[in-house]
Subunit: 220 residues, 2 copies
């Protein structure tokens, strides 16, 4: 039975639009009517998830409530970092597809025992816990690589999808592989705008792709 | 003062996502917070605008009401054909940006006295009236060209953005130019997914681009 998907978006805006396109691409469709109905709140003004955690949680809760009242039946949020504030969303009582849990599940299913994570500090902390729960070691970005990663994320948020940030993101993924990662999680929805599976020598598990596929499976 | 934009979408789904990306591309932004908040109802199950006009109008009215109640302050609908049923949307009392009127205005501003229109039969009828109001003659697709156009639109709705429909759409635009069009309106939101300004020998006025720009101007 088809369900209406509610999307808490805008973190960032380009990543949300790429996610919506991904959901459509993964939906078997011969025409408009075969697609999932999606109500998306693309809100780029959600308070900073790292610095104003409580305010962010309250805003996400309000967004979830409005999506529910507008007709959404299943919720998702294509932003890994903001899952630290997912409690506000869960309170509204709709099924919420957990991007961190689903991506960790998909990555661990490949059998890797050491998995690299390309994520913000907040997102990385969520993946560290989730991977540990699966008995998998996390390979992290550190020092200058961590700063370089955040520069790439901000480049996307500025609209720069050029070769500069792309090359940098490839280099960061290679750093994780060199440190022993047998798979790499693209654990920030800005990452796939710069990095594809063909850019990494080990399996790349894209959190946006995993989430999109689960959304299609649940709502189609 | 920033305003929340409500988007009545899904007609079709790919065109709506392309429109959302266009709004973002046209927004001057250094980071997430600079973007417009958008609440989009991407509803691919709106009843057929050509065959079930009354049902479509009722559904669009409900969508507009839900967007309003979810916090939208300005409404738009990136589907030209569905503007025939816009009365249902206008009833909810929010400002509604009229894609047909804005595109006609932009096209006529270029000074052309004969303008070609790439649109569905329903969309074409709306443009015929709007262009007449500006004292501009419309150049229409006819016969086999009309059927070929609808095949291109359905190709996009099936997810086919390949060279086949692209070449066909270029040919159709050229047909309008050969018939005297001094400018061409891409009057169906599927058209820009196949045809760019560089593909046409006269100015191409893309209704999706015009609408996106007006939305940025009004909501930013």
């Amino acid at each position: 039975m088809a369900k209406v998907l509610g999307v808490l978006g805008g973190m960032g805006p380009a990543a949300t639009v790429a996610f919506l396109a991904r959901v459509q691409a993964l939906t078997p469709a011969q025409g408009d009517q075969d697609h999932i109905r999606i109500i998306a709140d693309i809100n780029p003004q959600v308070p900073d998830r790292n610095r104003q955690s409580d305010a962010a949680e309250a805003t996400l809760g309000q967004m979830a409530m409005r999506l529910r009242d507008a007709g959404a039946q299943v919720l998702c949020m294509p932003c890994n970092t903001a899952h630290a504030q997912a409690a506000g969303i869960r309170k509204v009582g709709l099924p919420f597809i957990d991007m961190i849990a689903e991506t960790t599940e998909a990555a661990a299913a490949g059998g890797a025992k050491k998995i690299g994570v390309l994520a913000t500090p907040g997102g990385e902390a969520l993946y560290a816990r989730a991977l540990q729960g699966k008995g998998v070691k996390i390979v992290r970005l550190t020092g200058a690589a961590r700063e370089a990663f955040m520069s790439c994320v901000h480049a996307v948020k500025r609209g720069d999808l050029g070769e500069g940030p792309r090359a940098e993101m490839r280099r960061l993924a290679a750093t994780l592989v060199a440190a022993g990662a047998e798979a790499v999680i693209a654990g920030c929805t800005e990452v796939p705008l710069l990095l594809g599976a063909g850019d990494v020598s080990v399996p790349l598990v894209d959190s946006a792709e995993v989430l999109a596929q689960v959304c299609v499976d649940r709502c189609k």
